[in-house]
Amino acid sequence: MTANGWLQILVFFALVVAVTAPLGAYMFRVFEGRHQPLPRLLGPVERALYRLGGVDRTREQTWVEYTVALLVFSAAGVLVTYVLQRLQHVLPLNPQQLGAVEPTLAFNTAVSFGTNTNWQSYAGESTMSYLTQMAALAWHNFTSAAAGMGVALAVARGLTRRPGPDGAKTLGNFWVDLTRAIVYVLLPLSLVFALVLVSQGVLQNFAAYREVTTLEGAKQLLAMGPVASQEAIKELGTNGGGFFNANSAHPFENPTPFTNLIEMLLIFAIPAGLTFTYGRMARDQKQGWAIFAAMSALFFAGVAACYWAEAHGHNMEGKEQRFGIAASALFATVTTDASCGAVNAMHDSFTPLGGLVPLVNIALGEVIFGGVGAGLYGVLIFVVLTVFIAGLMVGRTPEYLGKKIEQREMKLAMLYILIFPLIILGLSAWASVVPYGVSSLNNGGPHGLSEILYAYTSGTGNNGSAFGGINANTRFWNTTLAVAMLFGRFFMMIPVLAIAGSMLNKKTVPPGPGTFPTNGVLFTALLLGVIVIVGALTFFPALSLGPVVEHFVAHGGKVY
């Protein structure tokens, strides 16, 4: 480890802290304000979307209506993405004349982008036409991110709204949240940062692949495409699906250390900002910062461990020279903290402990800043759980933001907590004992198990990064991973929205002397403990058989 490496990490984090409050305040105005920002410029776009979409913006929805809208919209999106892939050979913007995408791969990819996972069983430059990339995949980067933000807002409203005398029934309108997220947040930022990326060398064209004669006289075919427009939203929406197979390690996606910094910042910007937005919704900014602090602590623990392991091993396999070890370890931590899944180095080639960090980050439930929206609603479940445990310790009815947490909420929270490992461990167990599972592995020994475990953890956690050696483009892997992604997204969203619905109608009681404050250091520490203990208890056995065993085996010099 070098001082400069740490300086890069600190500079990055300082930038995250710097954007959290302004972006969070901006998003509060967008979603909760009476007047949205930039009314002359973006107001007409917002209203046009409502008109064309047939949305009544004044009508709020119950949690069930909100959920139904989200599910129907997601289903329609998956279907359209599937169809676009299957028909890409007859659609325009396909200069390389790439054929129709194979059915299970098209299904896997449609689910993958519809669930904000962006797991990629394919190599972009040899599989997807330009139209598929932008209209099927990048489109989903916007909508799935916006939908995630919508769920987070709905949950925040459920927790923070104070019901009137006849109670509150509604927690926002899905279509309004979706539209505002796209029009005021995702689209303008993506446009600006796409141009910044182009200025540094990221491609943005519709040309056919360009053949050049190299200095030694060989032919090299350079892949082209509208990359920057997809790159910006890929990071900003914590989607992570690369235009090219090598993702953000590819020089046309991430050409310089400066673009690398920008891309990492885009990944954390909205999830960090939403903690501030949440604080404002709770009318207590410290509620947001307490969550932010817990996330930051886990981020630093992860990056320190990963950087140490990679630097200690002088490990350049799978890393780009322009980024070096520090910026690669940092990117790996950021992208797995935040359910993004873009990579600027190959996690599969990390040292055993270096590769353990991204895996653990995802296994903790994608709550270290987490996905756009998904990070906030995920951590709020842990917050509810923490409050409940604290309440048990002192023998009082637990309450959060003045609302009592009761049996129904705890049942739903436990459902959320249990679904996640059930899918991951169940499918991993299946895949590791059947020939059609293990035949896809690129590495033997414990590292092979890590590849399986990583795949399902990434899919279920809706991260999308991989121990990329695994050949997931088989019928078994495409199908089971699609199931993991679907369950990991929607079977976790539904209990979350149900909690929001049941918290919404509860009366708020003013804090008394026995109220456990949820905005201080003690709470942050407890929250950290709950996140780590739940994650550790669930995944420790599996992780010990993978990366941990591999670490010791590697020390003994054994190879597979």
Binding site: N4, G53, V55, A69, V72, F73, A76, A123, S126, A138, W139, T179, I182, L187, S190, L191, A194, L195, V198, S199, G201, L203, N205, T213, T214, E216, A218, Q220, L221, L222, A228, S229, Q230, N245, A246, A249, P251, F252, P255, P257, N260, H314, M316, E317, G318, E320, Q321, F323, V343, M346, S349, N442, N443, G444, H447, G469, E550, V553, V559, Y560
Partner: protein
Amino acid sequence: MKSSILVALRMTVVTLVLTGLVYPLVTTGLAQALFRERANGSLITDGKGHVVGSELIGQAFAAPYYFWSRPSSAGEKGYDATASSGSNLGTTSKKLRDRVAADSARLHKENPGAMGAVPNDLLAASGSGLDPHISPEAARWQIPRVARARGVAGERVALLVDAAVEPRELGILGDARVNVLLLNVALDRQFGAQR
């Protein structure tokens, strides 16, 4: 429910047109107007004006009078710019260990005058398989071979290498590096093309 489905379908079309078509087209228009050369692949030309590749995409070099790039797992032969990929081999992979040992032996044999062990990055495949850079140490390590193949003094080649070293951006970000293709173009310009 029925109205919800109708709204969902209409919003599907509307958002697809806005974010999936209008946005990338507008971005392309602006990018082509503002940063044309960058948006189209940062292509570079040799002394005679022929396009010899992209500044950002690495190439395979095997001739002794050129500096060599890192090992590559992009495509069958490496540096296939339509098949970006790392090796994805882990620390305990026998394949990786064998590859490193074989490369190390070959590089030592082909660089008889080189000082010390082979620099780390020259033995490690990059994440993209298209890394255009090597470390300054990896460039310096190759100077004796390149100088001998070109019949010029090592110091003169070293001057070119020094000029080609790109420092950390803003003094902080990333690692110092040498762009192999640009360095080789500069070599040809200074000492004449070999072919």
